[in-house]
């Protein structure tokens, strides 16, 4: 009984709380500020450090395959 009362009290508290609304007014301004002519430059600059780390990791992973192998003796 106490559990049911506790749960009802919690649900009531949640229902009485302030309601959050999506920002319909500012959304067009947000979209406009994201998709500016600088969008591609921002994207490339932002991804640059991650690309550098990815290149280092991929280079390390494939290092054994990239190492020049000792040449086989020529067949007579």
């Amino acid at each position: 009984m106490m559990r049911i009362l506790g749960a009802a009290w919690l649900i009531g508290l949640l229902l009485m709380g302030p309601v959050a609304h999506a920002c319909r007014v500012c959304r067009p301004r947000v979209q406009a500020q994201i998709h500016t002519p600088d969008y591609t430059a921002n994207l490339l600059i932002l991804l640059l450090p991650i690309a550098v780390v990815l290149l280092v990791g991929a280079g390390l992973y494939f290092a054994p395959a990239l190492k020049p192998r000792p040449s086989l003796p020529a067949r007579s």
């Binding site: 500012c26 600059i45 390390l60 992973y61 290092a63």
Partner: protein, 165 residues
């Protein structure tokens, strides 16, 4: 027949996963919980709702990219686990993780904080440089610790199959 052992695939997997997870630490702790900076906050200070939401978008792009980095690292780990020429070593892998986190901090710190000034580590101060330097120093410490663990792991030579019952 003795086969040459290759440790670099396991180090590379750890490095990419460490860099990805390090990126998540940066994004979750410094961007979202402490709110010290956002991805473009030095260029577009989040001092109104629109600017804050634009920064939130670029933070999301950053999180997506470090997620991809982590996923590629996980794929490499899977591939390395199936190779007989890759020694299975916890020290090597954890060393790789620390190397990756350190490399991420140093590369991101140098490019985003120092060279391009996209954002600084702590932006609620006039003198931002000490915070940026501390971030780089932490990255260098992680690199050193990772290097030490990777070196210690060179004595581990058994492949993963050797640990299976």
């Amino acid at each position: 027949m003795t086969e040459t052992l290759h440790r670099t695939p396991l180090i590379a997997a750890g490095l990419l996963m460490g860099a990805g997870l390090g990126g998540f630490v940066d994004g979750i702790v410094l961007h979202q919980i402490l709110q010290w900076h956002n991805m473009l906050s030095n260029q577009l200070p989040p001092d109104n709702l629109v600017a804050a939401k634009v920064n939130m978008y670029w933070d999301g792009v950053f999180h997506a990219a470090v997620w991809v980095l982590t996923a590629i690292g996980l794929r490499m780990l899977w591939a390395a686990s199936r190779r007989a020429d890759v020694p299975w070593s916890g020290r090597t892998f954890v060393g790789g993780l620390l190397l990756g986190w350190g490399l991420f901090n140093v590369v991101e710190g140098l490019i985003d904080h120092t060279l391009l000034g996209l954002h600084h580590v702590y932006e609620y101060t006039d003198d931002k440089q000490p915070w940026d330097m501390a971030f780089l120093a932490f990255g260098a410490l992680l690199l050193l610790a990772g290097w030490g663990l990777v070196r210690a792991g060179r004595h581990d030579t058994a492949p993963r199959a050797a640990y299976q019952a």
